[in-house]
């Protein structure tokens, strides 16, 4: 039995730039249950970070603005809340980890000061209590000799260690939702695996729900319960992780799966999807993937398909999902 923690409904976040309107997120909907991990995948520019920033209300404005939709967290629509309430939620009930561990920590404060800050803010701990809890958290995220590390500055730590610190900071107040925006992209492969494992363990320990954003489907496979695939500001496919890998219905998903580097596979070669994402200032009328899709036909160019529930809890945005057999394509070759 599970209950919904976060429900994003028809979210629209646009950027109004000098060159025109960028519909960075356009009609995105998904749910996250308690203790569940949702993966969001997509290539660069597909709107993953903007989706995350929208939930945290951290979209830079101007030029950005959330122009439509709902973000229901527990029993509140975050978009209706006063800034004061949002600040109570940030870092406390919803936390976020960013992609760049090297730059996400403030260089002029110690690790302890930075973790303590969030504890003192939300949990009203005093200085000593906060420091003690910070050391506890550092220990939990696997930082050796935390009593000493807590007094160090970020530049004294490696990238992997810094990301652990970010995780410690994000989880310090035991949030119900953790949004991790490409938490491992900047790290090398072994550290990547360690961080993912750590997040998984911590989720089990704290029962935190996680939104894991990445452009690497391989990462998602390891930790996510379900996946939303984004393209051009929209979700093009969404289902549970197993189904997505076994039975993708959208050509873009199939392409992404094919592009996962297979370490033990016979060829182990990367097959990126050919072509490039269309200019967000100039999205085509039809399916946004048409210029790169092997199966595009006239209708695809003319009209954009809706997100359709093709099986229970399996949504696809493609005119031709029924006719296409992508299973083989993603398995073979």
């Amino acid at each position: 039995m599970s209950s919904t923690l976060l429900e994003v409904k028809d979210l629209q976040t646009y950027f109004f730039t000098d060159r025109g309107t960028v519909k960075a997120v356009d009609g995105v909907s998904f749910d996250v249950e308690k203790g569940e991990t949702l993966g969001i995948v997509g290539e660069s520019g597909s709107g993953k970070s903007v989706t995350a920033a929208s939930i945290m209300q951290l979209v830079p404005s101007p030029p950005g603005d959330i122009v439509g939709g709902e973000i229901n967290f527990k029993d509140e629509n975050l978009l209706d809340l006063k800034m004061k309430r949002i600040r109570k939620i940030r870092g406390n009930e919803i936390s976020m980890i960013f992609q760049e561990p090297m730059t996400s920590l403030n260089p002029v404060y110690t690790i302890g000061e930075q973790i303590s800050e969030v504890l003192r803010l939300h949990q009203g701990l005093n200085k000593d209590e906060a420091l003690e809890k910070s050391i506890d958290m550092l220990e939990k995220v696997g930082i050796p000799s935390p009593e000493e590390r807590v007094h160090e500055h970020p530049h004294q730590l490696s990238g992997g260690m810094r990301q652990r610190v970010m995780i410690a900071m994000a989880l310090a107040c035991n949030p119900e939702l953790l949004i991790a925006d490409e938490p491992t992209t900047a790290l090398d492969v072994t550290i990547q695996a360690q961080i993912l494992e750590l997040m998984d363990e911590l989720r089990d320990e704290f029962n935190t729900s996680i939104i894991l954003i990445t452009h690497n489907l391989g990462v998602i496979a390891e930790v996510a319960d379900k996946v939303a695939v984004m393209y051009g500001g929209r979700i093009v496919e969404q289902t549970d992780t197993v189904t997505l890998y076994k039975d993708p219905e959208h050509p873009y998903t199939a392409g992404l799966i094919k592009s996962i580097p297979k370490i033990e596979g016979s060829e182990g070669k990367l097959k990126p999807i050919k072509g490039t994402v269309p200019d967000p200032l100039n999205f085509p009328n039809g399916c946004k993937f048409a210029n790169r899709c092997n199966y595009a036909e006239e209708k695809c160019w003319a009209e954009e398909p809706d997100l359709e529930e093709v099986k229970p809890d399996h949504y696809v945005r493609c005119w031709r999902w029924k006719e296409l057999d992508l299973k083989n394509e993603s398995e073979v070759k």
Partner: protein, 309 residues
């Protein structure tokens, strides 16, 4: 860190000796002839001149004079003024409090106005307020300080009759306000521009985003997380200015008849009072070097990545 302070402080000594040497030599390069005669005027009594020359040891070989001069500096002996016959150091120290007061007041004004305007401009960049402050600071930089001084005098003392037009008023705060503003405004303009550009560089940094994501209020995000990272270039500007100002703000002191070092130096130049010129220049240089040392040390307090070894 302690070793660094010591080393830096010791470095000050050769720098000051160098400056002293240059000022000493400049006297001979630029003003050939008899400095005493020049400073006493055409019609000075030859006997008096001879007396002064002898007293000052001006008949000794150059190298002896130089040795005596440098040796004297170490003992705090800057020589005697040609015109007043007082020890130069006494004259300088007598004027210094007025100059220091004006310099500090102007610096405080420049920090308060400049840093806050700079922060607002950066946080609300390209807004009306940003344009307003930046236009204002452009004005501040391009407006000559004596002109602003005169405007302030005309408005606040002649027309509104609120504040005295000049003088020291034996140290009363009322006399300080106008000169401090005239001087501080220009400095504030520079500080504002530096604060703005430095803040703009950090305001989009990831750690600022992290601070917001923690749920901190916007003030704390901006002041605690952004500003502290943006402060080094700002402190540099403030320190450099303070260093200059401690040597005396010539124009401001003249406009407001402020009895500071600047006017002392100008008078010394007009009267060709070489010991006094040397003394003020060396004193100015010492202030400058010391303030710079402090600025240098503040970097380490602001940014732990800066190591002193």
């Amino acid at each position: 860190m302690l070793g660094y302070i010591l080393r830096k402080t010791l470095m000050v000594v050769p720098i000051l000796i160098g400056i002293a040497t240059i000022t000493f030599l400049l006297n001979f390069v630029f003003v050939p002839g008899d400095p005493v005669r020049i400073s006493m005027g055409q019609h000075a009594d030859p006997e008096t001149i001879e007396m002064i020359r002898a007293e000052m040891g001006l008949d000794d070989p150059l190298i002896v004079q130089y040795g005596r001069f440098i040796g004297g500096l170490f003992k705090g002996d800057f020589g005697k003024s040609f015109t007043t016959r007082q020890p130069v150091l006494d004259m300088v120290l007598e004027r210094f409090p007025a100059t220091a007061k004006l310099a500090l007041a102007a610096t405080i004004i420049s920090i308060v106005l400049g840093v806050s305007a700079g922060i607002v401009s950066a946080v609300k960049s390209n807004s009306f307020l940003d344009y307003f402050f930046m236009t204002f600071s452009m004005l501040g930089i391009s407006m000559p300080v004596y002109w602003l001084g005169l405007v302030l005098i005309v408005v606040f003392s002649l027309n509104l009759d609120l504040l005295p037009a000049g003088g020291y008023g034996s140290g009363s705060l009322r006399y300080l306000i106008l000169p401090a503003f005239a001087l501080g405004f220009r400095q504030a303009a520079k500080v504002a521009r530096m604060t703005r550009s430095s803040m703009l560089e950090v305001i989009d940094k990831d750690y600022v985003k992290t601070a917001r994501a923690k749920g901190l209020s916007e003030q704390i995000v901006v002041i605690k997380h952004a500003l502290k990272n943006a402060l080094i270039p700002v402190i540099t500007v403030i320190g450099t200015q303070l260093g200059y100002l401690l040597g005396g703000a010539v124009l401001t002191e003249s406009v407001f008849s402020w009895p500071g070092l600047g006017r002392l130096a100008v008078n010394a130049v007009l009267k060709r009072d070489f010991p006094l010129i040397q003394g003020t220049v060396i004193f100015l240089a010492a202030c400058f070097v010391l303030v710079n040392l402090l600025v240098d040390l503040s970097y380490g307090l602001l940014d732990p990545r800066i190591r002193y070894d």
